[in-house]
Amino acid sequence: MSTAETLALRIREHARRTPEAVAMRDKNFGLWEQVTWREYWDTSVQVGHALLSLGIGVGDRVAIHSENRREWLFSDIGTVAVRAATVGVYPTNPAHEVLHLLRDSGSSVLIAEDQEQVDKAFEILEELPRLRHIVYIEPRGIAGHYTDERLMSWPEFLARGAEHARAHPDAVTDLAEAAKPGDLATLIYTSGTTGPPKGAMLTIDNIEFAIERVSQEGAFFDPPATSKDLLVSYLPLCHVAERCFTTWLNAGVGTQVNFAESIETVTTALREVQPTVVFGVPRIWEKIVAGIHIRMSGASWFKRRVFAGFMRLADWIGDCLVKNRGRHTVATRLVYLVCWVVCFRALRERLGLRHTRYAASGAAPIAPEVLKFFMGIGVQMHEVYGMTENSAMGTANLPGRVLLGTVGEPHPGVEITVDEGTGEILTRHRGNFVGYWKRPDATAETLDAEGWLHTGDVGEWARGTHLKITDRIKDIIITAGGKNVSPSELENSLKASPYVKEAVVIGDGRKFLTALIGIELDTVGEWAQRRRLAFTTYRDLSAKPEVQELIQEVVDETNEKFAQVETIKRFSLMPKELDHDEGELTATQKVKRTAITEQFASTIAQMYGERTPETAAS
């Protein structure tokens, strides 16, 4: 079907129509190097040729293990152009998880960013007989140090492509045009909070559906995104949400993607780029709020006072907007105008949200207070909902039709129902994935015969139009009293405080609820310094009685908002920051509950007044 739009052909179309326009920018040595559409397409084709010369055929898998950068997109498009499938590996994945992903997907080519990722691959190379070639992008520490015939530098890789292109000039374009809607385009691995990550198979057609939705008016944006919109790409591209906003939106309407130097420099990148469209996970938005808090507490007396006054106004504006479904009234407009001139314009500029016309939060539940804060300072904030298995297409709050606490309305062409028995949310549309890679058992559990995707989320309708998510089915706590409690609501309410980074509510089969809380080192550390409270490490700080009191206040505030049975009776502060490497978090920074409850079993037992083997022994 040559008329079928595919990711690759869309890039070619942009390159034909606006060859010299900017497709993306990549920051290197302090400069934003601009990549035009022509360069984007030409390099992608070269990558495609190189892959062909390495023996990649239709349906083969190519793994990319890198932070977000232009080579990621070149590799992705090059792979899709030759009808192979891309497998993204999280840069933070430790070697054993990389092993699982590469072995499970059976990738034969790995494109690794730097020495760190190449080392991970070498650690597990013996168990990967199918992996034939490793291409590295950054030569530092590799070139001249490593001698392995499978290794190849990025320029060598492209040179191979150029050579192949001379011999078979039309090989890649022919393949790209011959692509079928049912072709596997990518394997996106789930974060794996409960078991080993599973590879969700997304086809060309799935992605096309997502591109159509995300470019369309009235699905996310209003007015729709254009080539004048700027984005900063910083969340892992192996995650479906960032892939949707970076690669797919860019291919769909030609938005300009900007890659920061690294994940640590995102705040600088936001300030410099001043993106018009920002997508963030709750953790990012919470971190921005905490950052404002920290910087403000270090400001001069006068500035603190002025800012506190404006924050009260922001609160009021936020309240009005929430009541009015995200629309301004004359009064809020006037107040906002004054606030904008004196404070919010500068504040948003510092945050990098000055020109932001659309901001979205998704991929995990977020506390409504955080959203309201951003609405108050004039950032149009929308909660959206989707998952890997439905190509990130589910629901979205639309500009002017926001209902706080919900994830919004279904996109056009998306069918959503709430299962009457279990309350599970089911979706059905063209974006529904075709199954888990080599896991027909898991696929059968998720996709039913009528084509409904079982999302694993429990939810309900609000006002008949907006979908409200209660929690993951697996996470719902049933207390000993038989009461169903959604832990994520409680956890998010706790995490809305700038002092709380992680919260895990426990209580399944217990008489009452307890919580394990991890403090935010930056804010609590700053708080302690101001109170002249000496501390050394995270553990030491967590153990301070003053910090316990501080968090007690946060817990009390949360408890006031919930019914008696849903209050947190006791809590403990976790003595360490949770970490991906130690298996406590997934690559997307989601808490692995089972791992946590196992690791902190004795702490939990103490909260319930049980005697643990350790305490019994002592």
Binding site: L31, E33, Q34, A299, K303, C343
Partner: protein
Amino acid sequence: MTTTPVPGSAPHGPRPPRGRPLLRTSYAQHMGLLNTPGKRWSTLVLVIVGFCAPLLFTDDLLQVLTLGLFAAIGAIGLNLVTGYAGQVSLGHAFFIGLGAYTAAVVGGDTDGRLLGLGMPMYIWLPAAGLVTAAAGLLIGPLAVRLRGLYLAIVTLGVVFLGLHIFREASNLTGGPGVGRRAPDVELFGINASVSGGLPGLDWTRDQQLFVVALIFLIIFAVAARNIARSGVGRAFAAIRDRDVAAAVIGVDLAGYKLLAFALSSFYAGICGALYYTVVRVIEPTSFDLLLSVQFLAMVLIGGVSTISGSIMGALFITALGRMAIEIAHYVPFVSTSVTGGGLLNVFQLEGILYGLLIIGFLIAEPRGLYGIWIRVRNYWKGWPFSY
């Protein structure tokens, strides 16, 4: 193959989107003189106000401002060697004097009492700069061997040597107490040193000289700013911060120190030549240590290693005499003449003010007037945060 732009090359590809001054696509953009809209607009306004000044102020005030603008060229020169390159020089007065006399000799009357070559301005002005720069090159080798306090003492010696030479070479300088006339500012057939020199405009001498001063200052200030932000300026800064480290990273210490002195002296020579076209008479004993200290005060009070600070400092210090007179009107024990009664006269008051200002600035705001501006700017730059 991905294209890797050569650092510092012209912007790669299309222009970056508007309203995002921090989104830099080339180092040229990074190093730009007026790289933000704020700078562009404020500079434009300043220049327009500058050129309107002759119509706004009275002649006596304009004369003070003109002296300030010419002095600013000298202050920029001193800032290049002392502020940017970190080589303390107390010998600036000698170079100013040398410039003034070179201009007077080259541009002076051929049939006068004293030696004069009768050359036009486009000869005597560059000559003043070049002769002084050559003298700077002679002093330079001292700086290569000495630093800090020792360099200051040696350059101090230059001032005393110079004073002696100016006094004794009376067929060139006119001798102490007499001096000689400065040449007229006459370019392209327009004599700015005579009232009504501008055809079609009924302007006074002071108005015309002010405009001339402003044009020359802009030329030399922009040139100095460009030197400062180029490789030469970075080499100067490296020498200032740590000469050993600078040598290690490949900065030719001897060469750049010589260059710093030559450049600084060139500016001093131009300053001397032009400054005395306003004062009219060049008296040999005026190039003493006090003059050097005054220029040092301009740099310190204005702001070390800043061009705009040098200009602010020069205007401020030259206006100090005028301020002292204004103060004298309100303070009963200060007389406005040398012979008058009272505890102090205005010249003594001026001297005291110098001292107090230098002490005050060094203690409270070592970055000078420019530092105060930076403070004000940063307060609003960080708004609503403090950092």
